[in-house]
């Protein structure tokens, strides 16, 4: 794969280019970017790399039904009670800065993608996964340790008892 940049790239300095491509140079990149420099032009080449996940990739158990075999991997695994605490599973669907992968990139079906999305949001609320860069924190209470309980218990509901002018 090649990307020839003639006029635009000449305007960039060398440092700017490195800064832009620094993220791509990490170990986990699938495409390593190489830069060839001539007198007139700079060639930016994306070299393909083997993914680090490949040796640890798993295949769900074989299914006789053809329709079932086309299902998404999370459906075929059929894990019981996938929850927001299973962050090693949820981590596979987010980037290092905490943003969620798109539906097409994740390779999941719509239902499981929706499930993963809610669970990732819960995990980020409890600070188990890294929060995305523009995550809204409304107050200091968002930075204390919290958890989601299921089934939810409504103990004495102070928010209903106490008048809102005393909320701080």
């Amino acid at each position: 794969m090649f990307a020839r940049v003639s006029n635009l790239a000449l305007k960039w300095t060398q440092n700017e280019l490195k800064a832009r491509t620094s993220l791509y140079d990490s170990v986990r990149t699938l495409k390593q970017i190489k830069i060839h420099e001539n007198e007139k032009q700079i060639v930016v080449e994306g070299e393909r790399i083997e993914s680090p996940r490949k040796p640890y990739l798993v295949k769900p158990p074989p299914v006789a039904d053809e329709k079932a075999s086309k299902a998404c991997p999370l459906c075929r695994l059929d894990l019981k009670r996938l929850d927001y605490t299973d962050i090693l599973i949820l981590r596979q669907f987010i980037n290092s800065d905490g943003t969620l992968m798109s539906l097409q990139d994740s390779g999941l079906c719509g239902r499981k993608y929706k499930l993963v999305q809610t669970l990732v949001n819960k995990a980020q609320k409890c600070r188990l996964l890294p929060r995305p860069p523009h995550y809204q924190v409304y107050g200091p209470w968002d930075n204390f340790n919290t958890y989601y309980d299921w089934p939810p218990r409504y103990r004495d509901q102070p928010m209903r008892v106490i008048r809102p002018e005393y909320w701080k």
């Binding site: 640890y56 798993v58 991997p73 962050i87 800065d97 990139d105 994740s106 209470w141 919290t146 939810p152």
Partner: protein
């Protein structure tokens, strides 16, 4: 006392010995753990427990109280009131405000409530019962207290692990469900 032999006297000291329990409050719900701590403080875990005649309570040492947890947004909703006995002297503070000022006070108040919500005989021994509660915001305990500890109370909830708590090798070697698609650039 004169009728007791030396052996039976020491046996009596043994049955009525006050134990020192340790409780690790990391990621534990404040009010659930307060119920358990109050039971141990009043000695309800013992078969010789008697709420009328005897005080057979234990000591409880709680560590990591700054890491206690509440259900989502309860830090915001849970309010604590205080009255200064002057007119208009009632003030209100949310749980996160109290917790940021003193990381032990939220758990103290929860245990205080649980100890006092018992029959009338307990109210008389409420202050000596609460005096047996030792709260520490972090994991370090003074050595004179640590020397007494002989058992641990089991936690109420699983301790949640964030991504930082796992080692890199553990994260890398965990079985992967899906591979990266082609032409995908990992950020």
């Amino acid at each position: 006392m004169s009728n007791l032999t030396k052996f039976r006297r020491t046996q009596q000291w043994l049955t009525f010995a006050r134990l020192w329990y340790l409780y690790d409050a990391t990621y534990q719900d404040v009010f659930d753990s307060a119920i358990v701590i109050a039971q141990y403080l009043r000695g309800m875990n013992k078969p010789i427990y008697d709420h009328v005649r005897q005080d057979v309570g234990n000591h409880v040492v709680v560590i990591n109280t700054s890491k206690v947890s509440m259900p989502v947004d309860e830090w915001k909703w849970r309010m604590y009131s205080h009255h200064s006995r002057y007119g208009g002297g009632q003030t209100w503070a949310a749980a996160h405000e109290l917790h940021s000022k003193d990381p032990t006070i939220v758990l103290y108040k929860a245990v205080y409530k649980e100890v006092g919500s018992a029959p009338r005989a307990v109210n008389l021994i409420r202050s000596p019962t609460m005096a047996r509660l030792h709260l520490f915001p972090d994991a370090c305990i003074p050595p004179e207290i640590k020397a007494n500890i002989c058992d641990q109370i089991r936690q109420v909830q699983p301790v949640l692990k964030s991504l930082k708590d796992y080692s890199e090798e553990e994260v890398e070697k965990f079985p992967k469900i899906v591979d990266y698609p082609e032409d995908y650039v990992v950020k």
